[in-house]
Structure formats: C-alpha cells, structure tokens
Symmetry: C2
Subunit: 318 residues, 2 copies
C-alpha cells in the first residue's frame, strides 16, 4: 500500500467496518509511513466522537484482565470498543515482552471489539507520536470507547496516559507501586484509582496510601477529586468493582463535558502534539545548521551550551 | 546572590574548596537561576577532567549503599569524589520520597567527599537540563569522580544515566527488575551490571536473565561487552564485589579513552544538550507564533496536526 490513492481506498474500507483494512492502517501508523499524513487528513471530519480511556499501572497489577472486564461491561451496554495496548518496549528486546497480551481472547470473535498491540520499533519517543494517529483512526472507524492500556509507570506511560480523556491508574496490594507511581508522576494525571486484587491482604493499606498522597494535592472548587475504588477483575463485567468503575467513568465524562475540562484537555493535547511534530522536523534542520561543529566545541569545553543554543537558533531567525 | 559579580566571587570560593559556596552554586542550578549561565561560562576552562559514573536501578536494590561503598573505595585510593543523587520526584509529592538519602553519613565529615541531592522542583524535564550544569560545577571544583545516582528505571533515569561516561545498572534478586529495566530502555545505556544482594537466593537467575538479554544485542568488534558482576554492598570498600566493580570501571574508562568512545559520547551529549536548550527557547517563541489558534483548530478536528506543525515552522523560516 504505497500510494495515497491506495491508502484512501483502504481508509474507506476501514471506515466501512473492514477490520483487516483497519489493522493495515494502524500498521502504517506504527511504521511511521509517509502516507499516514494524508490518511489522517482524510478521516479528520469523522473524528472527535470517541471517549478515550487510559489504563495504566505497574506490571502484575492485572491491567489486561481489567481491560477485558471493562470491554465486557461496555459490550454488555451495546457499545463498540477498541483497545490499544501500548508497550514502550525497549528497542533492545524488541517485542519479546509482549507475552501477556492475548488474555482478552474471549472478545476476539466479537466484531464490535477491536484489540491491537502497538510496540515501539524505533526511538523511545515514537509511540507517543504514533498513538494520537492510531486514536484518530479508531475514532473515525466508529469505536465509541477507546481504551489505551500502557504497561509500566514510567514517564513514557505518563505521556501516553495524557492522551486519554479519563486516566485510570491500577494498583494492587503488596507491590509498593503507589510510591513508584508517585515518583513517575502518574498520580498527577490520574482521574480514577482502582486497587485491584482486593481479595488479597493489604488492600486497605494501598487505599489509605493513595488517599494520603491525594490529600497532599489540592482540588480547586468545582474540580475533580479522583475516587479510589477497589476491584477484583477476573474475567468479565460481573467482576467485583467493574460496575462501579463504569459508573465513575461516566461521572468523570459528565464532569469533563460540563466543566469545560474536556475542551481544555483536548486543546492542551493538540498543543503538545503540534509542538512535538514541529520539534521533530526542527531536529533535522538543526543538524543541517552546524550543530555538529557547535557540539564539538561544547564537548571540548571551548563554548558554553547556552551560547551554542543561541547560535543555532540565530540561524533560524532572520 | 543576585548579580553575576556576586556569583563570580562565589565561584572563586567554590573552586578554592569552600563547600558551602559550592552548595550555593548547585542551588542556583537547581533553581534554574539566570546567573547560572555566566557561572558556567566562567568555569568552563576548568572542566573536562572528572570521570562521571552513573548508577541506577529500581528502588530497593541498594543504590545508596552501593554508592557509599564506591565512595569508600575511591577515598581509600585517595581520590576526591562527589555524589549527585538525582530524584525525578513528582511535583505532586515534592521531596517527600527522598528519605533514604542520608545513609552515606559516614562520609559526611570527609572534605574530599561532596554529597548532594537534587530533586525536580518544576517540570519533569528540568532535572535532565540541570544535571549537566551541576556536573560542570563539580568537575571544575576538582572532584575526580562524580557519581550520579538516580532512583528508578524510567525514561527520566535513562536520560540522566546517558550523561555519565560509565553507566552502572544495579539489580537485585526477586524484584523482576531486569524485565522492568529492559522495558525502560536502561539496558541499552548500561556499561556494567551489578547484581547486588548476592547473599540472597535467586542471584544466579538474575545473572542469567541479564546475560540472556545481553546476548540478544550485538557487540561490534572492538566494542564493549558489559560485564555482569555480583556484589553484597553493606557499608564500605571491603564489601564483596566492590573491588571488582572498581577494576571493571577502570577497564571501562581505559576502553572509553583508547577507543575514541569517550569523545563520541561527550560529543553526543553536547549535541543533545544544545538541542534541548534550543527547543526550550523555541517553546516560548512558538507560543508567540499563533500556537494556541492552531491548537484550537487541531482540537476541533478542522486542521490536521502535521499541517499545523508546518504552519508554525513556516513562521520561523524566512
């Protein structure tokens, strides 16, 4: 699928419900293919309707199972759901760590459910750039809910979580991950906390830890106070806590819409996306503007880095 | 200390060995004070002599203890050592997680040892920008070894680790952190692996896991093959594995110098530093170039982000 014309017909098929065409479009995004740009431009009028839910947490807290249970709950309500499982895998180990992805197989034959793993093939920032385009494609294809599941609690996950309208942070007893999550800055972007595996000892301690950390922050009047709920996700919508999670997500969505926060978040996301794309393009231009010579002088300690940055910017300012 | 003239005399005192003047200079860096720039310019001729060692690993692997043991080993050899303990703490929790810093108190009265914690006060990228300046100050102040200790295994740690000449990744049995480290991309930047707590069960499994992951990578002819050693850091240079770590670090330093890799790394670091400083300055200019209007249109799905990025760059290209 090399030409924009071929991409266009693929796009038409994907928007008409052809799952394999959809998968091929997402591969284009993952590979950062040149045709992505025209695909996005063409489907733009169909976007903006999906609710985007981010789900993150440390390995072992039960993210895939929770995602499966959420998918089941949305399906029981007759909604179409897409899942993007985003794994900021190191280029070193490739996709080898993607093992536990396939636990949602019970939904594999349901046409209203689309599940896709995306792994980072190139530089570490690549996924953060690709994910907004994948979201646009799924949104245009008519999925009402898009769940972005990320593995881990690092800054890449924070960046990807910030692409969602509602961010669910999953914790579990006995993993010390509340502190980890705090360090990674994930608490700031969390809209809901779910302490999973609530049938195991120590669940109330995790709930207290999160509440204590939340109490250190401030909620503006009319702001959103992230709820902390408990759950035991095993296999479906009847699992303990799943109905409450759905209710809380709906409440958060209502708040997003009524407070103007949805508009603010989407605006902020657009600002970051434009800036990141502009910086990526500038990287190439800087390389052509004597960056290497300046870097050699900074490395030799004969030029300070602030002056070097000023010099290179002067090249770009008439 | 507001003026450059005051900063200059503070600098002279710090270079002459005044530890409190040194601490105040580092505070300027941490606060991103405007005088930092002239301080760095003035001390530049004195830099480039220190060996910079990065030490990172998940919470609980014994980083502070290992750092203390390394400091002891360098001191026993009569060298001056500075430690920068960098904590990419979330702005949400402030410095509250910096608890276990003070374990190196045995060195607190030794004038040839300088220990400093740096926490992120502002945006998450702030520390990566401040750390090179802190390194330059300590280098100019005559410390022969600068150990940068970072907490965690996320991308912020990878970024900070890449500021070092030699990167030591600390692991421990029973934490599943080899996989975590792999996900965060820390394996790519590791020059040495130390499996600490080697008196606990499971150490050989961790060694095997790391070797397996390393075998997936490739070493160029004449390249550096990261050694995997075991250690039991408790309190000092006589601890199991510390002498071997020092020997391996020396071997890595010799390789860095003889292979040209030191020059390459310092050049690459300079390139990244200049680019980051240029981007930070550009962020302000983009904001003044209609970014908000473009972001509003992208958020409304009436303009695609690629076009928006092109539009904003056109403003900066005559």
């Amino acid at each position: 699928m090399a030409s924009p014309a071929q991409a266009k017909s693929e796009l038409d098929r994907a928007l008409a419900g052809d799952v394999r065409a959809l998968a091929r479009l997402l591969s284009l995004v993952e590979d950062d293919a040149p045709t992505v740009r025209s695909v996005i431009r063409d489907l733009l009028p169909q976007t903006g309707r999906a609710r985007i839910i981010g789900l993150t947490g440390a390995p072992g807290v039960g993210k895939s199972t929770m995602t499966g249970a959420l998918v089941g709950a949305f399906r029981a309500a007759g909604r179409r759901v897409a899942v993007l499982a985003v794994d900021p895998t190191s280029p070193f180990t490739g996709g080898a760590l993607l093992g536990d992805r396939i636990r949602m197989q019970e939904h594999a034959t349901d046409e209203a459910v689309f599940i896709r793993s995306m792994a980072s093939r190139g530089h570490l920032g690549g996924l953060a750039a690709a994910t907004p385009q994948a979201i646009r494609i799924l949104d245009a294809a008519g999925f009402e809910f898009i769940i972005i599941e990320t593995v881990g609690v690092g800054q890449a996950e924070v960046a990807i979580a910030s692409l969602a309208d509602s961010v669910v942070v999953l914790l579990a007893p006995g993993m010390g991950d509340a502190v980890q999550a705090a360090k990674a800055g994930i608490l700031e972007v969390a809209d809901l906390f779910v302490v999973n595996k609530a049938d195991q000892p120590g669940v109330q301690q995790v709930v207290r830890d999160v509440r204590t950390m939340l109490a250190l922050g401030t909620t503006e009047p009319g702001g959103w106070k992230p709820p902390v709920i408990t759950a035991v996700a095993r296999r479906g919508p009847q699992d303990e806590g799943i109905a409450e999670l759905v209710t809380r997500l709906d409440a958060h969505w209502d708040w997003l819409c009524s407070s103007g926060e949805l508009k603010r978040r989407r605006h902020a996301r657009a600002r970051e996306e434009i800036t990141a794309l502009a910086f990526a393009a500038l990287r190439g231009r800087l390389a052509a503007s004597g960056l290497e010579e300046l870097a050699a002088r900074v490395a030799d300690a004969t030029l300070d880095p602030f002056q070097a940055a000023e010099d290179i910017l002067a090249e770009h300012q008439p």
